[in-house]
């Protein structure tokens, strides 16, 4: 059980030659509950960890390989460039932390995570840690981001949501679900939707101040979002190539059609949003980028778009600047299953995230 590169057991950087083995473990560990549309696991890992525009050889994903070359553990490192108080920093979104269930070697997870967290990045995050991983993170000094444990859902078609949930559970209910277009279902949605709308304060008070909404192109995104991001101490530092890569990844691997839109009033950009649209489905919101004062218009535009494009519901994670607007617009809040975990040697960086002065969305981490 000696360790080091060059034909001996140990930790080394993940590379192209490992894809097959890592994909096999991923399919064993994560595929059953995966939200990925594609089954091309190797292609997904290659694209998001090896050939994405953020790839940084100083911050590689890590594998633990045995002496015979067999990979038994993996920890993904998805790098993001960010800007903190005007200076560029590197953040790592840690993902796909897995040990081959067939392996009995103990302690590998601690070495992998310890190696990753000791890297030169200023910030490390993870969005999908299970209970065991959360414990490990906490022992290494990681901690949850405030509010990241709160999710929200906005229902537009209650009966569709019910069918969606039943369909996920499967079983004998399936026959009941094969009549999605019947007048009975539509009538149920009209009645239930009216009940939901009546419970929404914004519907009683009138819609928030409207803005004009247009598709957000990757080319235009950096310039469009710069004035919005300027209001945050910590924010992404993306170029057009980064947005293009994200859009391509979402289109190829996401469950649903990616919708990216910018909301303006006159010449001023109020904000933007990104979500995955699946008509009749519960659609994940990946980003709401805006200042708190402009959130009503951005959230309103998001909800109008989703509702008019047959989304049954939107679901997302609370971002501090949009919380009040989500509440006013009829979103319901719930305790999320997993929280975003943070690790940094800079306490000011962590305090900035906790204070709501950071623009960090699911696109800046594990969007899948």
């Amino acid at each position: 059980m000696t360790t080091s590169p060059g034909g001996r057991a140990g930790i080394r950087a993940f590379d192209e030659a490992d894809l097959g083995q890592v994909a096999r473990i991923w399919d064993t560990v994560f595929r059953p509950g995966s939200s990925l549309a594609s089954r091309d696991t190797a292609g997904f890992l290659r694209r998001t960890l090896l050939s994405d525009p953020w790839h940084d050889p100083e911050l590689p994903s890590l594998v633990y390989a045995q002496q015979d070359g067999q990979v038994i553990a993996f920890l993904g490192s998805s790098v993001r460039r960010m800007r903190f108080d005007g200076r560029s920093i590197r953040a790592v979104s840690s993902a796909h932390f897995m040990i081959d269930p067939a392996s009995s070697v103990q302690g590998v997870g601690a070495l992998l995570l310890g190696r990753l967290l000791a890297g030169p990045q200023e910030l490390t995050t993870t969005d999908t840690a299970n209970a065991a991983t959360q414990l490990l993170w906490r022992r290494f000094g990681g901690r949850p981001a405030h509010l990241s444990g709160v999710g929200w859902v906005r229902v537009f078609r209650p009966s569709s949501v019910a069918r969606h949930v039943l369909a996920e559970r499967g079983g004998k209910a399936r026959w009941f679900l094969r009549a999605p277009a019947t007048p009975l279902w539509r009538l149920a949605d009209v009645v239930l939707r009216r009940a939901v709308d009546l419970a929404s304060p914004s519907r009683l008070q009138g819609s928030p101040t409207a803005g004009s909404t247009e598709p957000l192109s990757a080319t235009a995104a950096p310039a469009e979002l710069e004035p919005v991001w300027e209001g945050f101490r910590l924010r992404p530092e993306y170029e057009a190539a980064h947005f293009e890569a994200l859009h391509e990844d979402l289109s190829r691997f996401g469950k649903g059609v990616p919708v990216a839109a910018v909301v303006r009033r006159g010449d001023r950009t109020l904000g933007a949003y990104v979500y995955l649209l699946e008509p009749g489905g519960v659609c994940p919101v990946l980003a709401i980028v805006c200042a708190e004062g402009d959130a009503p218009a951005v959230v309103s535009s998001l909800f109008d778009h989703a509702s008019s494009h047959e989304a049954a519901a939107l679901v997302g994670r609370v971002e501090p600047h949009a919380q009040e607007s989500l509440n006013q617009s009829g979103a319901q809040f719930f305790a999320a299953e997993v929280r975003r975990l943070l690790h940094s040697r800079d306490p000011d960086l962590l305090a900035t995230i906790d204070s709501g002065s950071a623009s960090m969305t699911r696109l800046d981490g594990e969007w899948w």
């Binding site: 000696t2 103990q106 302690g107 310890g114 000791a118 490990l136 022992r139």
Partner: protein, 98 residues
């Protein structure tokens, strides 16, 4: 100057008994390969080493073999000492426990 082994080993045994609550295996059975130390215990062990000996092992250099036996852990502590051998910290750690 290399610290006395007699100071480090008893402290490591104590960490296993009092902090990790791990019963040590018989001679010849590895802590890692025998399944006595999992990832959580390993992280706790590292934290205790940092607390008791004032050293932070370099993760770039860490290997599972460093935790396979008490003597391997002792070697890890020794090689993690600063250039002066960390004599002061080790003596201090021994003194606390009497």
């Amino acid at each position: 100057m290399i610290p006395e082994r007699s100071i480090i080993l008893p402290k490591i045994r104590e960490i296993f008994a009092d902090r990790l609550h791990v019963e040590l295996p018989p001679d010849g059975v590895g802590l890692i390969s025998g399944g006595f130390v999992d990832s959580l215990a390993l992280v706790e062990l590292l934290l205790q080493i940092e607390t008791e000996f004032g050293v932070s092992p370099d993760f770039e250099q860490l290997e599972l073999d460093d935790f396979e036996s008490l003597s391997a852990i002792e070697q890890l502590v020794l090689r993690s000492m600063p250039a002066d051998g960390g004599q002061a910290e080790v003596e201090s750690a021994g003194a606390v426990e009497g």
